[in-house]
Symmetry: C2
Subunit: 212 residues, 2 copies
């Protein structure tokens, strides 16, 4: 029954952060073939009795030391030919972190781990350029709905801080007044009642309105 040839199944984890208002991604340099020495998204094979998200967390921690992040599955890539070892289907996850929350270190199959600007990526192993492009597009789509991307901001933040995050993700500057009007109209924020002094002037602090 069903003794067809079976594909290999892997997970990949795209970790984005913001450093000096630049959107950056966590990459690892591969120790082993195929693509040995090339940079890649952290990831690896799913154990036969392991849930997909557990595999993603395990690979991420083994290769980069990063743990305790909110992972969101965003797409599964399975084109024949994407892996020279044979048919491999990869379930891709996405996480947003604050750069000061994680201190990447290489481990296991990774010779090196580090942040790369999305605007100056090295050549990547497999179809990882396509996976990164898809992850970014996924983020951008969500932003068009004014859903505040979780993870990149502290619990309370100013509208300027939120705008910086949005601009880094969208890759474009936005008019300050238009941004404020749209975001506030979307009804996804609530005022905390608190203020932070920015350049000597008080700026209102907001938090994400909790889902009903």
């Amino acid at each position: 029954m069903h003794e067809y040839p079976r594909p290999m199944v892997t997970v990949d984890v795209v970790i984005f952060t913001l450093r000096e208002n630049d959107l950056q991604v966590l990459l690892v340099r591969r120790r082993n073939p195929p693509f040995a020495g090339m940079w890649a998204i952290p990831g690896g094979f799913v154990d036969i009795d392991e849930p997909l998200e557990a595999a993603a967390r395990r690979e991420l921690e083994e290769e980069t030391g990063v743990r305790d992040v909110h992972l969101e599955q965003f797409h599964t890539f399975g084109d024949p030919g994407r892996d020279p070892r044979g048919r491999t289907i990869t379930v891709a996850y996405l996480a947003l972190v604050r750069a000061d929350q994680v201190r990447p270190r290489a481990g296991d199959d990774a010779a090196e781990a580090g942040w790369w600007s999305m605007r100056a990526l090295p050549p990547l192993a497999f179809d990882h350029d396509r996976i990164l492009a898809c992850a970014l597009e996924h983020l951008r789509q969500r932003l068009k709905c004014f859903a505040v991307p979780p993870g990149l901001l502290p619990d309370t933040f100013t509208l300027n801080e939120l705008q910086s995050v949005c601009e880094a993700i969208l890759g474009e500057k936005m008019d300050r007044q238009t941004f404020r009007r749209k975001v506030l109209a979307a009804g996804v924020l609530q005022e905390t009642g608190g203020y932070r002094r920015v350049d000597g002037r008080p700026a209102k602090l907001y938090r994400v309105r909790s889902a009903r």
Copy 2:
């Protein structure tokens, strides 16, 4: 190299339609074990050299006769134990169709095919109740962004027709004026200039504004 045990990989296709303002899903009755005789989402095994979306289209047509629909991948399910035959990872797709566009007929592994109301589903094979719930949540999330769900409406439509689609998906009635204000403010529609007489009164016709 990598001679670990490999999972099986399948695709499943959730096809939603609107019939008399009720959100319905296309299900097939399984001919073979496991879960023989039970209703399930159309789907099946991915051939070793077949792209994932091609597998989804093939299985959908083989089991239901439905073809030429816009498929969107929405989630991959892979919990150990979800298939009694062994570890099986399924890549799930979603499509929205107009009921008059498809005429389901059973075929291949399906003994029967038909529309079921999302509010009165039969017991389902595998974890297909969870997959359906996830598909519906995916639709609802998108609707919160006022992205008009493609496929359920003709090319031009009235705001009342759009509201019916949204209400069926969200499972709740909405205030007519609030709905209109929100949808128009979202800027996703454009007037066609045309009108349709509804109950003797002219109603403006809209289309989805094309993406930039």
